[in-house]
Every structure is written in C-alpha cells, then in structure tokens.
Amino acid sequence: MSAVRVLAGTKKGAFILQADAKRDRWKIDGPFFAGWEIYHVTGSPADPQRLYASQNSSWFGQVMQRSDDGGQTWRTVNNEFSYAGTPGTHQWFDGTARPWEFKRVWHIEPSLANPDVLYAGVEDAALFRSDDGGESWRELDALRTSSTGSTWHPGAGGLCLHTILLDPKDSQRIYVAISAAGAFRTDDGGANWRPINRGLHSEYIPDPNAEVGHCVHRLAMHPAKPQVLFMQKHWDVLRSDDGGDRWYEISGNLPTDFGFAIDVHAHEPDTIYVVPITSDREHFPLDGALRVYRSKSGGNEWEALTKGLPQEHCYVNVLRDAMDVDRLDSCGIYFGTTGGQIYASSDSGDSWTAIARDLPPVLSVEVQTLE
C-alpha cells in the first residue's frame, strides 16, 4: 500500500511525518538535529530511503546530513563548499562590491536517476554538485563566473540560490533561481549558463526590464511538460512556455501577487498553487486570512481555497521551499508556515487539515510518495 512521507525543515530541527494513502492519521517523528536550522530535507527520487538534510547554525556553520534508511539514522557527510578559483565579488545591498563568502545550503536537489548525485544551492549564490552521495562537492562555477555574476546582489534573505529544477526529459538541462539575480538555465549540464529573465519586470531595480537583478522567489515545473515553467517573483506570478526564453504574467485575479511558494498539481500540468502574501513589507496573508489560490487554467484565473484554513487573525508566512505535492491518485498538497503549522489537503486543495500545529517556523516541506 502506498504511503506519504513529509519531510519538514524548521528553524529548530527536522521533522518527518508519515501516513498511509488515506492521509488521515499522521505519525510525527523528530526533532532531528534539534536546535539547528534545517533549511531543507529531501529524498532521492531514485531511492526514497536516501535522504539529505542541510543543517546550519550561526555559531557552527554548515553541516550536511545523509540517511540511507528513510530518516531513521543519519550521518554527516562533507560540509566543505569551496568556490572554484578566486571567487571575486558580487554586489552588496548598497551596490558596493562584496567578496563571495559561503554561508549556508538553501536547497538540495538529488538527481532523478542516481541517489549518489545531488546538487546544492548555496548562499552566497552558487551551485555545487556531488557525485558520491555528499562525500565531496565541486562548484559548477560557470554559473557564478558568467558575465553577470559580479552584478548579482542579495535579497532580504541573502544572495541565495534557492531553486534547482532538473529537466526529466533532458539530463543536461538545469534551471536555477537566485535572489535577487533571477533565473538561469544550462543546456549542457552546467558548463554554460545564461540568464532567462526576458519578460520579468521589477520596479525596484534601476532598469525594470534588466537581464538580471530580479528577485525570483521560486520556480516550479510539471515533469510531463518540463518546457513550461511557473514563477513566483517578489511581485508577480509568471509563466514560460519555452523553457524560460520568455515569461509572461499570469497573476490575473489574485488579490495580491506577492508571495514565495508556487507548485504544480501532480497529475494536471496546468493546475498550479500559490499562497498570496500581502506585500514585501507585510509578510502575512491578506486580511489575516490564510488562502491558497489555485488556477486550473495555467494561470490568470484563480480561485481561493479556504476550507479548513484559518480565515481570521492569521499572520504567518509560507516560505518559498515550504510547499509540495504528493503523487497519489487524489493529489495531496502540503505547505508549512512560519507559525509552525503544516497543512495538508488530500483532495487537490479543496479542503485542508493541519497535520502538525506547533512546530518551529517551517522553512521547507518536501513530500515523498512511497510505494
């Protein structure tokens, strides 16, 4: 019988929630790595028992963890992320030059085919790859040393590479997103990269239509249509039908198009989900009502999903890596909040239940569908 495992990274540890396919009774294990910030926990699509976690502390830096038994036991793997060559500088908030300095791993993306191959998106923004299950890391430095790297500047959360999408139909094609530089694509496994931000418009940079400098919060893709990408930008929800060559806005009737998380239904490539957040200065839901918005038409036409979600006095945020879907026939949608709740829907978002209510602030949610 199928089961679902939810991997939650929080400000004070990791938690693993598991249920059978009914998804009505959840067992919660954790905290793992108690007291540490867990930016991301994720599993290998090729071996669901292989998990990786990014563990970080302002005091003791970055630690990388690996489990080979679905999270029952863990061991540390290599935590040395050295930029290739002489790193040079990027821009600071005020436009001055600032040396590249590794701070943390924001996101881990295991290969679709090999559990020992994985990518890590880090702050200051760079992409690393391991071919030995995390025992060593090498930078795919062409991304950072491209012609635009020295112009990148941080968003409020830092200069972070937070999104990595692997094209399931083309192993050489990878998409990444960096705050606040934008989206980038390689078509040769990381040897060459180019910005893919045409169509993005950001009023907070000197040239609103610049090639780079946009605060892209998150990208999402459906594996059946990998050329179609969805983006939650600082402001604006956008879509590309050509692998990022050109973007167009699909915010439509959203009450606000600021937000962080965006994801795609497991079986309907044009059904997408966002959680609108009031604004860049008010990181909580509009009117204190937590609403997921769903578009079944690939954007522009959105409906509010509220059943089971708090509709008053709710002032949490939903961070960029804190939403995911399962792959059961009736698709499950999951998201975590900075208030420590994890909400789940087993009916594509029509209704919601809090499957955890009092965790530390949730930084990331990944979902594994287990056979």
Binding site: A34, G35, W36, S57, S58, W59, F60, G61, Q62, V63, R75, T76, N79, E80, S82
Partner: protein, 98 residues
Amino acid sequence: MIRVILPAHLKVLANIGGEIDVEPKGEPTIAAVIGAIEERYPALRGTMLHHDTRMRRAMVRFYACNTDLSQSDPASLLPDAVVDGDEPLLIIGAIAGG
C-alpha cells in the same frame, strides 16, 4: 593530553558525552587542538574554524584559565595549565539572545 569541553550542540553532533582529551600534533595551539578534534570526530570539521582560512568562526569563543583566548591567533600556544592538563580548553558558542 589536552582536556577540551565542547559546546552542547557539537557534543550532540559528534555523539560525545562529556569532556574529551586530545593529543595535538606539533605545538599545542588552539588550531592544533581543533585539528586533533576534527580528525577524531569528522562530523565537527569546519564547525569551529573555517575550512578554508582556519580562522575562528565569529560566534565561537575559546576560554581557558579564566581568560578569553578568542582573539588570540589560533596558531598561538595554549597556556601551560592547559598543556599540562590542569585546566581544560573551553570552546563556547558565543552568548547571543535575550
């Protein structure tokens, strides 16, 4: 042997119960002691000194003999009382919070 007391987070990370003893290679310096700790407990690599520069992490401090050694060069010699095992080297996570 040099006695070392690690902060609680690092004890958990390395599955260490209490005080540890290490034998640094070469001169008894903070850097050599931490090198010996990292060799015995690989999970602690890079958690006290940066991997690349081998400089102290900003929020890690070193105390011994009622003295704050945090600003000392990690390559400087430890006090005799620490080298002789009479006093431990305390590695502390800096106090930060309300």
